[in-house]
């Protein structure tokens, strides 16, 4: 109960952080965790303050200070938490672990859900079984109550790429049972960059159906079942040499909840079929499918005792990741070339963790959390194992690791001020690609990557701090984090190895730098001129360096946005400017080049008429042609786009 209450307050704060001002934002933020950022996704309500409610999840996440979304096309952007690639954070759906099935990171976990599936995303800096932090996608679900059937329908259209989105949701509530079902369909053609150039292979089509049901067993306990079926087809990746014919995720869980105790079992299966059949000219035709299945459980108990507010968790999961590649020879009659790019890697993981929030004084809290996990990896496939022994003749077929973590944070909250300072230690095992990948082509630096099964755990020591000042009219939040990573995993060129991919520059093998440092900071400020006008601002910057590496790749330069919103009765409007300074801290070894700065402007307006909400707007109104640090192979971003979203509640 306390948890949900706290969540609600958090949500309120973060609506403010996300430039979607809420009137009572400053009034009540006690016990807010400043190291956590909450992205409100879908409120199933027409009071939605988001500029574009039917945005993709990626666009919602992109607005969070802690996240960058690395873009390989219009679809399935890869979340970089605190400036670090997706291997360094753990993304869960209601606590469930999911392993992507694409060797080329074309299907991050976030690509298998829709905004309608989710209520919010909790992004937590550092802590968790990770280096950079954790991201939990929280499912949207109903509650028990008076018998009632409600729903919503929505549709959206965007001129650029002729994007269409259509869908709906139904909720049924009784005192003993609730069910929620939602359906979303998205379809987009190729988008046009600023200036009007078509970006080929940027189309996609996505279907998503999700259902969740709860049944009250008795006054103490309830059962919940949840299912997501997500299917994307004909997804283009303009920054890559291949597209995706099918990306399918089936994500299921059953949970038993008894007061503060929740136990869940889950299973998910991901199929990802990469192909190049839409590309007219290729060096060689190939198929690169991948499969990932994960089964797991988690059990969480939480409670209060005197000044303690504690939580204990035990969880475990099993994953099998397999991917292969078949290349069809250009010489007639020659046999197909086949290899396992992920050699059937089994991951067994078990973990216990706990956290305690202790009240030191009315204004001071300390949160201590820790955990330990055991990870066991096995290379299951014989051919896959033998392939890797070409590079590692003495390779062990299985590997067991102990992964530890500990963090502590002090939080002060009084009147206009709140601040937090925390320190964390975390470890992670190499990912499937880093440990066992086999000739995985990176189209940015144009190298084939070979995994290294003999690497140590990567470790991180981090400091996180945040400061919040708020009055009725003004609020500002400054946050920063500094990560010192030990045994930092990165692919480095290895002389003497011959590239497999035609046209590749060479082969990189994963190795470990003695250290890398990443610094992140962000400033959010908001001022309310009066009941109708408010002004929100955001500035962010990151810096990444490593042993013998001047600049880590894909690190955000100074980025800013500033928006003025006006609302009166049923009408609201806003104008936003956002942009970045020039990128001069780039990594040439990764294929990066300097980038000029840019600024783009968006406008939107909304009108609410009873149960109908209409939002229209224009993005990049001056049709600026630009590309950012997060654009793979520097593909240009979308040019001018005019959109309309209609939401109807019933």
């Amino acid at each position: 109960m306390l948890q949900t209450d706290c969540m609600r307050k958090l949500s309120i704060l973060c609506v403010a952080v996300l430039l979607t001002i809420s009137a009572d934002a400053q009034s009540d933020t006690i016990k807010t965790d400043l190291l956590k950022e909450v992205v409100i996704i879908h409120k199933r309500s027409i009071s939605d303050k988001t500029d574009k409610p039917l945005s993709t999840l990626d666009k919602y996440l992109e607005k969070a200070d802690m996240l960058n979304m690395v873009r390989r096309g219009a679809y399935a952007w890869e979340p970089y938490l605190n400036g670090m690639s997706s291997e360094r954070s753990v993304v869960t759906i209601d606590g469930m672990r999911i392993y992507a099935a694409c060797t080329d990171k074309m299907d991050p976990v976030t690509s298998y859900v829709e905004i309608t599936n989710l209520a919010k995303v909790n992004v937590h800096s550092a802590g968790g079984p990770s280096i950079a932090g954790t991201m939990d996608l929280v499912r949207n679900k109903g509650t028990f109550g008076e018998k009632k059937l409600s729903g919503m329908a929505f549709t959206g259209f965007e001129t650029n790429g002729s994007q269409r989105v259509i869908g709906g949701a139904l909720s049924f509530t009784t005192p003993k049972l609730f069910t929620d079902i939602d359906v979303t369909y998205r379809h987009a053609g190729n988008y046009k960059a600023g200036g009007g150039d078509e970006v080929l292979y940027s189309q996609y089509t996505k279907y998503n159906v999700s259902a969740i049901a709860g049944y009250k067993l008795n006054v103490h306990s309830q059962l919940e079942a949840s299912l997501i079926y997500d299917r994307a087809v004909n997804v283009g990746y303009p920054a890559l040499t291949m597209d995706v014919g099918l990306a399918r995720g089936i994500i299921a869980s059953v949970a038993y909840i008894r007061h503060g105790w929740q136990t869940k079992i889950y299973y998910n299966t991901i199929t990802h079929v990469m192909d190049d059949s839409k590309r007219p000219v290729v060096a060689i035709r190939m198929d690169m499918p991948g499969w990932s299945q994960t089964a797991g459980f988690l059990s969480t108990l939480q409670g209060n005792h005197h000044k303690h507010n504690w939580k204990a968790n035990i969880n475990g999961h099993f994953n099998k990741s397999l991917a292969d590649m078949t290349m069809y020879s250009n010489t007639a009659g020659e046999k197909d070339m086949y290899m396992l790019t992920w050699p059937g890697v089994l991951t067994y993981y078990g973990e216990v963790s706990g956290a305690d929030n202790y009240t030191l004084s009315p204004n001071w809290h300390v949160t201590i959390s820790g955990g330990a996990g055991v990870q066991h990896n096995v290379v299951d496939n014989q051919q896959g194992y033998e392939s890797l022994t070409i590079f590692y003749p003495d390779m062990q077929r299985s590997h067991t690791r102990l992964l530890k973590r500990l963090s502590a944070a002090f939080n002060y909250d009084h009147n206009k001020w709140q601040y937090t300072i925390g320190a964390a230690y975390g470890e992670r095992a190499p990912s499937v690609s880093e440990g066992y990948g086999y000739y995985l082509y990176n189209s940015f630096d144009r190298y084939d990557y070979i995994g290294n099964p003999e690497m140590k755990n990567e470790k991180s020591v981090s400091l996180n701090a945040a400061l919040l000042f708020r009055t009725t009219r003004f609020s500002a939040k400054a946050s920063g984090s500094y990560f010192h990573l030990l045994d930092y995993i990165i692919g480095r060129p290895k002389a003497g190895l011959s590239a497999m991919t035609i046209g590749a520059a060479g082969v990189k093998v994963y190795e470990q730098l003695s250290y890398a440092n990443i610094f992140n900071c962000a400033l959010d400020a908001e001022y309310k001129f009066n009941d109708h006008f408010n002004w929100t601002n955001r500035v962010g910057y990151r810096r990444g360096t490593g042993a013998h590496i001047r600049n880590l790749p894909l690190i955000q330069p100074l980025t800013y946005s500033s928006g003025i919103a006006w609302h009166h009765k049923s009408f609201s409007a806003n104008v936003t400017a956002s942009g970045a300074a020039a990128q001069d801290k780039y990594n040439p070894e990764f294929g990066e080049q300097a980038l000029p700065g840019y600024t783009i402007f968006n406008v939107s307006a909304a009108y609410q008429f009873n149960s109908l909400l209409l939002k229209i707007g224009a993005e990049n109104i001056f049709d600026r042609n630009y590309t950012t640090f997060a654009d793979w192979n520097r593909i240009p971003r979308m040019g001018r786009n005019i959109f309309a979203n209609v939401l109807v509640n019933f």
Binding site: M327, T331, E334, M337, M339, T389, I390, S498
Partner: protein, 268 residues
């Protein structure tokens, strides 16, 4: 628990019965009759894995039967393959036959006009016999034998023995190397090095790491390690290096030189 007990007992039973089974090994397992050479007294059966003779290295199992069909196990056998060309005849490298087994390296295939025959001389109980007949030698689908003149003016015959079933792995590779002393005499070459450079010509001449050049083993064959990073067509570029370290045949593969003048082919 009961189930486990039953399972345990069952396992014991299964493992016991397995132990009792005598392991029968048959020399002819996996072999197919390629040809039979007959004279008045005996039938000499020659078996190979493929059931035929092909250019390159042919492991051959020799079995002599009486005309009545009884297997003769106490014969001492030798053989001479001979190629009848339009204007000349020549032989090819052939091993001694020991315990029914030997090998012949055919440098070329037979045709209607040019054909191989095989003479088998054998002695049973101090009585010498002989049988000669033509044999069909077909061209291997892939290049597995190279016959060439080195820069030292010697004529060499080099043949691939293994891998016969290549895998995406580090494969054991072996070859036999002969020097042609005369049209009918071939001798094993000792202490050379056979350098290998496997390439996928269909993949931008991709090569694999951690290959080991072939050196001579105690049984006179040459042994090395061959890494194959994927299935498909592989060209094994070769260089022959003599005892002084001089390359007598073959060229290194470089950015400007796609392949060596001597090579073998594998496809799987």
């Amino acid at each position: 628990m009961n189930f486990l007990k039953i399972l345990f007992v069952f396992c014991l039973f299964v493992s016991c019965t397995k132990k009792d089974d005598a392991v029968v090994t048959n020399d002819l397992d996996g072999l197919t009759l390629a040809t039979t050479l007959s004279n008045d007294t005996h039938k000499v059966e020659l078996y190979t894995v493929s059931g035929k003779f092909q250019t390159g290295y042919n492991a051959i199992y020799v079995q002599i039967k009486t005309a009545a069909g009884a297997i003769v196990n106490n014969a001492s056998v030798s053989w001479t393959p001979l190629m009848h060309m339009m204007g000349m005849t020549h032989s090819c490298p052939a091993s001694a036959i020991s315990n029914h087994k030997g090998y012949i390296v055919f440098q070329m295939a037979g045709s209607d006009d040019e054909y191989w025959d095989l003479t088998i001389n054998y002695t049973i109980d101090n009585v010498a016999y002989t049988v000669t007949d033509t044999i069909a030698v077909s061209e291997s689908s892939k290049r597995v034998v190279q016959s060439f003149t080195g820069s030292d003016n010697n004529r060499y015959v080099l043949a691939l023995v293994n891998p016969t079933s290549p895998a995406v792995a580090v494969n054991d590779i072996s070859m036999v190397l002969y020097k042609m002393e005369s049209m009918t005499s071939f001798t094993v070459v000792d202490n050379y090095t056979i350098k290998i450079d496997p390439r996928m010509t269909g993949m931008g001449n991709h090569t694999s790491p951690n290959n080991v050049d072939l050196t001579q083993g105690t049984d006179k064959m040459y042994y090395g390690k061959l890494s194959l990073t994927m299935t498909g067509y592989w060209k094994i570029n070769l260089q022959l290096q003599d005892t002084t370290g001089t390359i007598v045949k073959g060229e290194a593969v470089t950015d400007t030189n796609e392949g060596s003048s001597i090579y073998f082919e594998l496809e799987f």
